[in-house]
Amino acid sequence: MFLAHINPLQASIFSSLAVASLLLTFVMLGSHWLRNYVYAFAVQSWLIAALSASVGYFAGYPELYLIAILTALFRGLVLPFLLTRIIARLNVKREIHTVLQPSSSLVLGAFLVMFAFVIANHMNRQSLLAAHVVVLALTIMFSMKFLGFLMLSVRDEAVSQILGLLVLENGIFLGAQILVPGMPLLIEIVILFDLLIVVACFGMLVRFLVVHAGTTSSRQLNRLVG
């Protein structure tokens, strides 16, 4: 456990990167515009890549550099590119029907972060400085989970649902870099590729939705009930 003897500089670098990612999630939550959504996601992925690289540097895991490069490349460039293409093709610019106003979903999001903190605090058994980083990482992991699910439930547009799912995964990735940097390389790489396939599948499905169901809003997908 390199976290057990982490120094203040490293702790503050990790914390600020993690907190910045969380803030970007709030940017997504508060934004009406799908394009901002994608940009926030791209920047968040770059931050996570930076986090991977810095964990790799400080904790001595050279393989994390590879993960950082792949994260930046796939999550930071390829996925946003695919998403902007889907958005351009669908010709939707903004989320029109939201169940919740962005302002109220921000408030709700803030409460979810507090809840995440309570859970994280209960799960931690580290001491002092390491505890700060661990609790922070766990909090952000859980809050990005919660916020992702919040986005999935209050937004109808197909693209924002894909983005919600990607936020769920980003949260896990972010936390995993700090908590378990020693996780086998193979798995991380495969999960990255897996994500690429997921988005490709979603892209295809969105096209089917337009052609066969005539809508990309989940609000209108209401044929199957009961």
């Binding site: 390199f2 908590l179 940097p181 086998p184 798995i187 499905l205 939705l209 997908l221 009961g226």
Partner: protein
């Protein structure tokens, strides 16, 4: 020997995929798939016998064939075989001849990923295999390309991807917990997690377990995470419904069973079992209500799957040799019986041109022989003797009464009666109600392809209901020692 069996098990569907996509001939794709499925079934039996005495580990411990995994492989291979035969007859009815190679390629790919999930020894790779099953089956669910099936496919992939991401979070937390015991670098195998679990801080272990339970529970269709299931099962082509219900749910239950065995013997073991029992009984109750007031024939079958996956969860949660043996026996019986039900539903749906129960009347006049099989299957799936599901449900009930969850066993019995009445009243209506202006059913070609798998699934259900082979019992005791982690 185990190694060559394993290679054959995976080479067969791969060859079928290659043939389907390579030579774009519908007939060839059909026969290749059926052949691959038969090979897989023939391989899965000796595979189970071989690993019963000595579980085998390959590929730097990334692949492990243990009795539990081999048992699920057997169930999956059975459904793969039955539904690929049925698919030959059914898919020709859809007038989509040009897209059939695509269908069979995806179909074998779906089987391949499920079989692969069963032998994954690395927890992370297991997660990836389960995720891949979702991605491939999404396109099978949406295969008919109607508004409903596209909607079902979309809901399926969104709900299940969201749910399964919780399992990934749980897996990461499990690994993190283990790293306090085993050091920062270790192979993320089931055995390693099992070894580390007792020393992990209890709240951490608990949260991790609940996350994976909810995650794989979503994929297994446990209520309240089952919302995708009725849509996906009812809108996909009938052979795919059978695969989803009879095979995919088992592969996901395997994940729950394995994680349950990881936490067995730790301080949270009791709570973990209670959580599984809770989800099980909740699924059972929810499904019972939806079965009673169901109007769609395939949605009826889908809710019956929620019910039976709940029963399996109850068996695992009750634990002990009886509970686990009951759950495993139930897995096999449900796979067989539910395939039969979906095949019958597919026939009826195609003949009457409707998914509504009210449109399907006088089934016996339309299907004199397969109609009887379908009716008997319905009696069996409602849990009546002399069919196999009665035996397995009874065993699980015994385990429940003997253990600390007597309340759950009581609820189980009450709602079993509700399900029995609700399910069979729909069948009574379909078989014996007369209507003023009966729909004229279409006569379907290709009877043999659709009747054969129904016989092949009905006969074992009947035989296993009358006679529980002793060999199976010894398989179950071996697996149950493996799950309960006898050594600890």
């Amino acid at each position: 020997m185990t190694q060559s069996l394993l290679i054959l098990l995976f080479a067969a569907p791969l060859a079928a995929i290659a043939l389907s996509f390579g030579i774009r001939s519908s007939r060839l794709a059909e026969y290749a798939t059926v052949t691959a499925a038969i090979v897989d079934l023939l391989v899965s039996v000796p595979l189970l016998i071989h690993v019963l005495t000595a579980p085998a580990i390959f590929a730097h411990s990334y692949i492990q064939v243990d009795p539990l995994g081999a048992w699920v492989i057997l169930c999956i291979a059975l459904v793969y075989m039955l539904s690929s035969i049925y698919a030959v007859g059914y898919m020709r009815l859809l007038d989509e001849d040009g897209r059939l190679p695509l269908f069979y390629g995806l179909f074998s790919g779906f089987a391949f990923t499920m079989l692969a999930a069963c032998v994954m020894n690395n927890v992370g790779v297991f997660w990836i295999a389960i995720e891949l099953t979702t991605l491939i089956s999404t396109f099978l669910v949406g295969f008919e390309r109607e508004a409903e099936s596209t909607e079902a496919a979309w809901k399926y992939i969104v709900v299940v991807s969201g749910g399964i991401s919780l399992a990934l979070l749980g897996t990461v937390l499990f690994y993190w917990g283990g790293s306090f015991v085993l050091g920062p670098h270790y192979a993320m195998t089931w055995a390693a997690l099992h070894k580390a679990a007792p020393a992990v801080y209890a709240p951490l272990l608990l949260v991790s377990f609940l996350l994976v339970l909810v995650g794989y529970g979503t994929k297994a269709g446990l209520a309240p995470m089952h919302t995708w299931l009725p849509d996906a099962h009812s809108e996909s082509p009938a052979p795919v419904s059978a695969m989803l219900s009879g095979a995919l749910l088992n592969a996901s239950m395997l994940g729950i069973a394995r994680f349950l065995s990881v936490v067995n013997g730790t301080s949270i073991s009791g709570f973990a079992h209670s959580a599984v029992v809770g989800f099980g009984i909740f699924s059972f109750v929810i499904a019972a209500f939806f079965i009673v007031r169901q109007t769609g024939i395939k949605r009826l079958m889908a809710y019956s799957s929620v019910e039976h996956i709940g029963v399996q969860a109850l068996g695992l949660g009750f634990g002990g040799v009886l509970g686990i043996a009951g759950a495993l026996y139930h897995m096999l019986n449900h796979s067989l019986n539910k395939s039969l039900m979906f095949f019958g539903a597919g026939n009826a749906m195609r003949a009457y041109g409707s998914k509504e129960i009210t449109d399907i009347r006088s089934v016996l006049r339309t299907f004199p022989v397969t109609g009887i099989l379908w009716l008997l299957g319905a009696v069996g799936i409602a849990g009546a003797p002399p069919f196999a599901l009665f035996l397995s449900e009874f065993t699980i009930l015994r385990a429940g009464i003997a253990g600390p969850y007597r309340w759950a066993a009581v609820l189980f019995v009450i709602f079993l009666i509700v399900v029995f009445i609700g399910f069979l009243s729909h069948f009574r209506a379909m078989y014996f109600d007369e209507t003023e202006n009966p729909a004229v059913p279409r006569v379907l070609p290709g009877l043999i392809w659709r009747a054969l798998p129904m016989w092949l699934s009905f006969l074992p259900v009947l035989i296993l209901g009358l006679w529980w082979p002793h060999a199976l019992w010894s398989v179950f005791t071996t697996i149950s020692t493996q799950i309960t982690g006898g050594a600890r």
